[in-house]
């Protein structure tokens, strides 16, 4: 009886925590339509989660909501939290429409370590999909939360998740530009570089260890490559004229860049150590925004050789056979290949509005995945299931992530200032 009272007290405390608004300021989830195809999931607070300095299951919820692939259900107040599969009763969750439930417990270990044990089970039929345990310090809780989100995603959906990656972006505060790297949800942002002059076009090396970017600190655009672990950077390209639009080859050995040595913007290839420059595109027009296909065999880029800017694909085999891939709209820019190489995200201007499009390369069919007026710089999550982009919101630039599978998008509201030029990095090593 005594034990039962103590248990109920805990539940009461947790019920109070649950009553706090879920829509936290740092992530605004704006999911529209397509709800029936989302995976209905209840995430229970872990038993004893109040011992933790940060609410791990809140981060797991926020992560999974961000993907747009889960329909998260709220447990009713007074729910008794199961702390083992033996204590888990699937019946209430069958009734509330859940397909699966995540539950767990926190245990204190020697030396200040915390043990997080959790399970994910489908409820009809009942089947354990996941059981895992982490022994961690309290400083590692956010990493663990992202890891749990990945494990739940992969156990329930059967495909690769995306939280084991980072994003890069540029924040303008007054006259200062900051190149930052953060978790996928925008939290734990770290400044990689500060400058009184603009920084644009950050590009991740395929191994996630370096960023290439364009800096205007020398009164003209030049390209640097910076190692994220050491902070050391080196000049990659400072040729006469403008140096811009760096992106990496999939093997990390070369970059495609844009130079103006011929008096117009043209695509060049350069080794990652700054040697071996060779010209790739040949036109008397603007050729810019090159990106390597994931197989490394071709480059998509923007050219206005036909009048307005359109996207072209040209193989790297030297054949110079150029294929135009956008025909709708007079202004298509900023291409990004999906990780499987089958889709292209890009920005289309239509009636004065700039939208992120997603185009199937085989069929040519394109659909809009953003919904604001000035959207820019799309980049794919490394699992291909989301596209990160910058968007204008009443004069302020903010980052959004849109699902490539369902209508809907999420604002990374934790970021302050003018946040632009987003680049989603590869999976962490």
């Amino acid at each position: 009886m005594h034990r039962l009272i103590a248990y109920c007290w805990r539940v009461l405390l947790l019920a109070t925590m649950l009553a706090a608004p879920l829509a936290r300021a740092d992530l605004t989830v704006d999911i529209v339509g397509g709800g029936s195809s989302r995976y209905p999931l209840t995430i229970l607070p872990m038993q004893n989660e109040e011992w933790l300095p940060e609410a791990v299951t809140q981060t797991v919820k926020s992560d999974l909501a961000m993907t747009g692939l889960f329909g998260l259900l709220e447990p009713p107040g007074g729910t008794v939290l199961p702390a083992s599969p033996q204590a888990f009763d699937p019946v209430p969750w069958q009734q509330n429409g859940s397909r699966a439930v995540l539950y767990g417990k926190v245990t204190k270990l020697e030396g200040g370590l915390l043990r997080l044990t959790f399970w994910a089970e489908t409820v009809n039929p009942r089947e354990q999909k996941l059981a895992a345990e982490f022994d961690v310090h309290s400083s590692q809780l956010r990493d663990v939360a992202h890891r749990i989100a990945d494990m739940v995603y992969e156990a329930l959906l059967g495909s690769k998740s995306l939280f084991a990656s980072r994003i890069a972006f540029v924040v303008q505060k007054g006259k200062e530009s900051r190149l930052q790297v953060a978790d996928v949800d925008g939290r734990r942002a770290q400044t990689v570089l500060r400058s009184a002059e603009p920084i644009i076009s950050p590009a991740w090396s395929p191994d996630g260890s370096r960023l290439a970017y364009v800096s205007f600190e020398n009164k003209k655009p030049v390209i640097y490559v910076q190692d994220l672990a050491t902070g050391q950077r080196r000049l990659l390209a400072n040729f006469k004229g403008s140096n811009s639009a760096p992106t990496w080859s999939p093997d990390g050995r070369k970059l495609a860049i844009v130079l103006t040595l011929s008096g117009n913007s043209q695509v060049y290839i350069i080794n990652a150590d700054g040697t071996g420059l060779s010209r790739f595109s040949y036109s008397d027009a603007i050729d810019t925004e090159p990106v390597f296909s994931p197989d490394g065999r071709q480059i998509a880029f923007v050219s206005d050789r036909s009048g307005g800017p359109q996207i072209y694909i040209q193989p790297l085999d030297g054949s110079k056979t150029v294929r135009r891939v956008t025909f709708q709209g007079a202004y298509n820019v900023s291409p990004a290949f999906s990780p499987d190489g089958r889709q292209l995200a890009y920005v289309r201007r239509e009636a004065g509005r700039f939208k992120v499009m997603l185009q199937d390369l085989a069929s040519g069919d394109a659909r809009m995945i953003s919904n604001s007026a000035f959207d820019e710089s799309p980049s794919f999550a490394p699992n291909g299931k989301m596209v990160l982009y910058a968007s204008d919101e009443g004069g302020r630039s903010v980052l959004y992530a849109a699902s490539t599978q369902h209508p809907g998008r999420v604002k990374l509201g934790v970021l302050e200032g003018q946040v632009q030029d987003a680049a989603w990095g590869p999976f962490n090593p």
Partner: protein
Amino acid sequence: MKVLPFVVAAAAVLLSACASTGNPADSANAGNAAIVSGNGASTAGGGGSSLNPAQPLPQVDAAGAEAAAYAGVNGKSVFFDFDQSAIKDEYKGVVEAHAAYLGKYKGHVLVQGNTDVRGSREYNLALGQRRAESVKQSLEVLGVKPDQVEAVSFGMEKPQASGNTDGDHAQNRRADFVYQ
């Protein structure tokens, strides 16, 4: 293009060899005060130096004549129509004044092209470059030596007007002259 005969003649007479040297890698190194962090121990990428021309340092001349001449061109920009890089008649005088100054005082100028703040940053960078190249060509027609001018672009990164009206956009479609 309308070319003032006097300016061409003056430029032709006054032009002499541009005789300064400079290592572009020096000016590009980190350690520049603009960088507060970044551990910038930059080294120039290979292949850069040979393709970069010497960039003369500013020729500071105490003479009042030069100061006055500089004051006459300093801050004078060329403005462009939407999606255009052609220099309009009303700005030919500005280009001619800069050409005359460069001819007489032999400085080095960065022509920085700019665009309005709509659209892709990199495509705008290329559009700004086209404007800067247009100005560079005009300067060269007026007798300025190619190695006195470097055409570069700031794209949409340095707007003069931050608003979104047609007037703001017009303010931003321009080429600035930055003497070095």
